[in-house]
Amino acid sequence: MAKMSIAEALREAIREEMRRDERVFCLGEDIDIPGGFGGAFTVTLGLSKEFGHERILDTPISEIMIAGAAVGAAMTGMIPIADVQYGDFLFCMMDQLADNAAKMTYMSGGTVSVPMVMRAPVGATTRGAQHAQSLESFFTHVPGLKIICPSTAYDAKGLLKTAIRDKNPVVVFEHKLLYGSKGNRAEKSALSPVGEVPEEEYLIPFGEGVIRREGTDITIVANLLMVYRAMEAAEILEKEGISVEVIDPRTLVPFDYELVLSSIKKTSRLMIVEEDTRRNGWGAEVAAQIAEDGLYYLDAPIIRVATYDVPIPFAPVMENFVVPSAARIAEAARKLMKA
């Protein structure tokens, strides 16, 4: 077992898969210029030393091209791992992802496959509205894509390796505050993103959520940073006698509904917490699905705690207000217990 941050775990996953399969390569802006950043959050730092600059390909600032080139390379025998510096820039390549990557297999009647990965950092970090969005829900809505969102180092490595071996386009959402490059989240909780990662190889299948904490009164489904906020809230609530079960779905498409259903059978209360803005966030889909399949298990309305429907404001005092906090989650839980 080695302790590593999410950034390191992702790097290890890439390294192992690149060693294993010469079709795998990385492309993106500033991903490993000598003396540079190793991508916006250091994930690809140093990889060119081992693999050279052909397989760690620094690109122009051309998001349409990056995504399109990934599609073209994937269709013809390569396995590209592309990235954007901030998830927000996915909008610049939306057409290539939604119209080409996602649809090529289908439009070709299954004769083509598009085994590519697109990595995108999300989350609000006081950089203002264009560097802050959580974009998961724009992509869960696109048939043909798979969507994953690891929140621990263990998951990051195992899920990314699965993504690289998947024959389909996988969008990986990574949270900026969880990378652990700065290491300052390391001690905060047992689920700190600096976590144990086995030496031996492992893969994590898509569509299997995990229970981060068991409980009996309320089920909270949360992803990425919100897993940690939910855990924090659960601790507060425990002291008040409210027992919270926290589920981290780990992948949004496919989604582990079974786990959620079996949890609400026990708790009979469901809350979904997401950093994506509320209206039409992925939480809406989970709520709607459970309102269809699990309504009779529920004793109370399904509650969503999400970022308010505003662009992300710059000022920390406002940013903290719009993004769900442990306090807000706890408060919603208290209300839910009374409903």
């Binding site: 349409i64 080139a69 390569m78 598009v114």
Partner: protein, 333 residues
């Protein structure tokens, strides 16, 4: 721009040239007849969807793709029929796709605008204007990274050259010296819009200099001239010397899509271009150079027309997809 065939040929060369031109003519005739048939079937109402035909532009597809290997690639547009036939997609499977049959090259899932068959290097067409160009960059990158000497021919239109995707693709192909041949079929219109209204420069190929890439303007209705330019650019690409823009001046003999009488086009312009029909140019040359007799050409044409009839039969007799087939192929397994 070269305006005539400037080759001086030895006898052996001449035989080879004859054989090539005859084969190119046959292909062009196939493209034309295929689209004429489709057009007719549309009017009859037996085909769903819409059509974007490339009648009049046959020399572009055939001249560019004539010498490609099966392992080479081609990316296309919303107007893919000619490109696909010339790249070797089976006639039957294309016709069946038009009929939305399960034997179609895309199993009825793609339709006219997504025609293709990767097994012969025809990337299923992308109907987003210029959307195929960054994809071609990726295909070129793949050819290079896999250490093959394969190339990609990437078709796009004059209208497409104003898309951001065009720019990003050109630049990337240039800096990485990718084996991509960018082919602009400049038919002077993007849908109803004349290129002059939306572009300040005369030749799209002149944009090549913005990327440090060679560009060439060619008379696009002369299949031999197109083929010569193709030969140069493909050789360059195969040698790892990088991409080229080839601009082919050509003209649609048909509407932009179904039900388009082209009222936005100048009638004098139309006449001039109709006189430069690529099939007529080639046919005349064949006869002048005595590559074949009129009767021999008729034989060729008859053969082609029969193949098309057979394809229609094949398509008509093919089964429809089942409704639930729609749920398959969302993901590759």
């Amino acid at each position: 721009m070269k305006t005539e065939n400037e080759l001086v040929l030895s006898k052996a060369d001449k035989n080879k040239a004859a054989a090539r031109l005859l084969e190119m003519y046959e292909q062009m005739f196939l493209l034309r007849s295929y689209e004429e048939k489709i057009y007719f079937l549309f009017l009859e109402g037996v085909m769903p969807g819409t059509i974007h035909q490339s009648q009049g532009q046959e020399a572009c597809a055939v001249g560019m793709l004539f010498d490609l290997r099966k392992e080479d690639y081609m990316t296309s547009t919303h107007r893919p029929a000619g490109h696909c036939l010339a790249k070797g997609v089976s006639l039957d499977s294309m016709m069946a796709e038009m009929f939305a049959k399960s034997t179609g090259c895309c199993k009825g899932k793609g339709g006219a605008m997504h025609t293709g068959d990767i097994s012969v290097g025809a990337i299923p067409a992308i109907a987003i204007t210029a959307g195929g160009m960054p994809v071609a960059v990726g295909v070129g990158l793949s050819c290079k990274m896999r250490r093959t000497d394969n190339v990609v021919v990437c078709f796009f239109g004059d209208g497409a050259s104003n898309e951001g995707a065009f720019h990003e693709a050109m630049n990337a192909a240039a800096i990485w010296k990718l084996p991509v041949v960018f082919v602009c079929e400049n038919n002077f219109y993007g849908a109803s819009t004349h290129i002059k209204l939306v572009t300040n420069i005369e030749n799209i190929a002149d944009r090549a200099s913005a990327y440090g890439m060679p560009g060439e303007v060619v008379e696009g209705n002369d299949v031999e001239l197109v083929n010569e330019a193709a030969t140069r650019a493909i050789a360059r690409a195969r040698k790892g010397e990088g991409p080229t823009i080839i601009e082919l001046k050509t003209y649609r003999r048909c509407g932009h899509s179904r039900n388009d009488a082209c009222a936005y086009r100048d009638k004098v312009e139309e006449k001039e271009w109709y006189a430069k029909d690529p099939l007529i140019i080639s046919k005349n040359r064949i006869l002048e150079e005595k590559y074949a007799t009129a009767e021999e050409l008729e034989q060729i044409e008859k053969r082609v027309l029969q193949r098309i009839e057979d394809a229609v039969e094949y398509a008509k007799n093919s089964p429809d997809p089942k409704p639930e087939d729609a749920l398959e192929h969302v993901y590759a397994v």
